[in-house]
């Protein structure tokens, strides 16, 4: 799978990239929601498929929820989005799911949790 990781933390991206590579997945990195939209549009234009988006909540410029709201209106992508965040209240989860996030990972998490969520996504989409 080709996975877009949207997170302002280079360390978190390095960790997730390593997890994904160990399972044979490729990844792209965007450090905020705006950059993610740019990458998605570029990939749409070149017909490069992104299979899953892992999306942090708290980021500068455009945060994860703003990204979901934007995508909800503008339909930039139909790729399933998995939130990956320290925001871990039931209200946060409900809000993200109501804005069409397909799954939700609370930080901290382990690689088995990440792949469990990705396999749930594979079953759903």
């Amino acid at each position: 799978m080709n996975i877009l990781v949207v997170d302002d933390s280079r360390v978190i991206y390095a960790m997730v990239k390593k997890m994904l590579e160990e399972k044979g997945h490729t990844s792209l990195w965007a450090e905020d929601g705006l950059k993610a939209i740019e990458i998605i549009k570029e990939n749409n234009a070149s017909n490069t498929k992104i299979d899953v988006i892992l999306l942090d909540w708290n980021m500068p410029n455009m945060n994860g929820i703003e990204f979901l709201e934007y995508n909800f209106k503008e339909k930039v992508t139909t790729t399933p989005v998995v939130m990956m965040t320290t925001e871990n209240s039931p209200e946060s989860i409900k809000k993200a799911l109501s804005l069409s996030a397909a799954e939700y990972i609370m930080k901290p998490f382990t690689s088995d949790i990440l792949f469990n969520k990705i396999s749930l996504i594979e079953m759903m989409f």
């Binding site: 960790m15 989860i93 799954e103 939700y104 901290p108 998490f109 382990t110 088995d112 949790i113 969520k117």
Partner: protein, 275 residues
């Protein structure tokens, strides 16, 4: 890279605080690869640099990376998924029909900290109407008192709750007690009864259960013990009751009078009505 005792202790204590995983001093060497992995992830020069960084401040990102490399992951909600789909969509509907007006008794025979028992109830709650759900009860047993205490409490941390549970089920069946602990809904908890039981030496009830889950236990037993446990389980099942084993387990090499039934590539074992 030689790692000082003080450094080991610092990481061992922190991992214990966050995950409950214990590294005693004689096992500190098990942290070597994990600590060195952290050094790489943070692009540092040495373990001492890493130690200095963590002692100074542990940011949420640093916590996330440390937790990720320090845990192993044995207990899941919905482990293997298929047994629970079978339970709620095939096995239980048949049992409900065959035993009208009866309380349906299920047993999670090696329940550890309760995830299997609660997964059984969640899958049933998701697919069964209120009246039939009311008829269901799940017993859970294990040899570990510590695990049973956790099962009875029904409270799980963020890592545990995310192992196997889709997000919509977390918000539907759990309430958050504090940022890192989630309690199973009382409507499910009240349907359980957890008790200590050793499958090899315990005194089994006779013809009590309609459905027994005994997964990933037999795989660790020799054939003699397997046969002993399976025959005791056979006696504990009601006629037409169903036994569900783990995905890698079978009755090969065992003499036990079960009828094997295939559902969607998964074998379950029925106590023959002649039994």
């Amino acid at each position: 890279m030689v790692i000082r005792e003080e450094v080991y202790k610092f990481f061992a204590d922190y991992i214990y605080k966050i995950t409950g995983m214990v590294y005693v001093p004689s096992e500190y060497y098990r942290l070597d690869s994990r600590i060195n992995e952290l050094v790489q992830i943070f692009s540092l020069k040495s373990v001492e640099d890493l130690y200095e960084m963590y002692v100074k401040e542990i940011t949420p990102d640093m916590k996330a990376v440390l937790v990720n490399i320090s845990t192993n992951n044995e207990t899941y909600f919905f482990r293997d998924v298929k047994p629970f789909t079978l339970l709620s969509r095939v096995v239980l509907p048949e049992i409900l029909t065959n035993f009208p007006n009866e309380e349906i008794k299920m047993w999670s025979a090696a329940c550890s900290s309760g995830q299997e028992a609660y997964s059984m109830l969640i899958s049933i709650r998701n697919t069964t109407d209120d009246a039939n759900f009311e008829r269901c009860r799940v017993d859970g047993s294990d040899v570990s008192i510590k695990a049973l205490d956790k099962a009875k409490l029904g409270v799980y941390n963020g890592l545990e709750i995310q192992r196997g549970l889709p997000a919509p089920m977390i918000i539907k069946y759990f309430r958050q007690l504090d940022p890192d602990s989630w309690a199973i809904d009382d409507s499910l908890k009240f349907k359980t009864n957890f008790f200590e039981f050793n499958l090899l030496t315990g005194f089994y009830p006779q013809e009590k259960y309609h459905i027994i889950f005994c997964r990933n236990i037999l795989i660790y037993q020799d054939n003699e013990n397997k046969g002993k446990i399976l025959n005791s389980i056979y006696n504990a099942l009601k006629k037409d009751g169903i036994l569900v084993l783990g995905a890698g387990e079978s009755l090969v090499g065992i003499v036990a009078p079960f009828q094997q039934i295939q559902f969607d590539g998964y074998t379950v074992y029925k106590k023959d009505s002649k039994g």
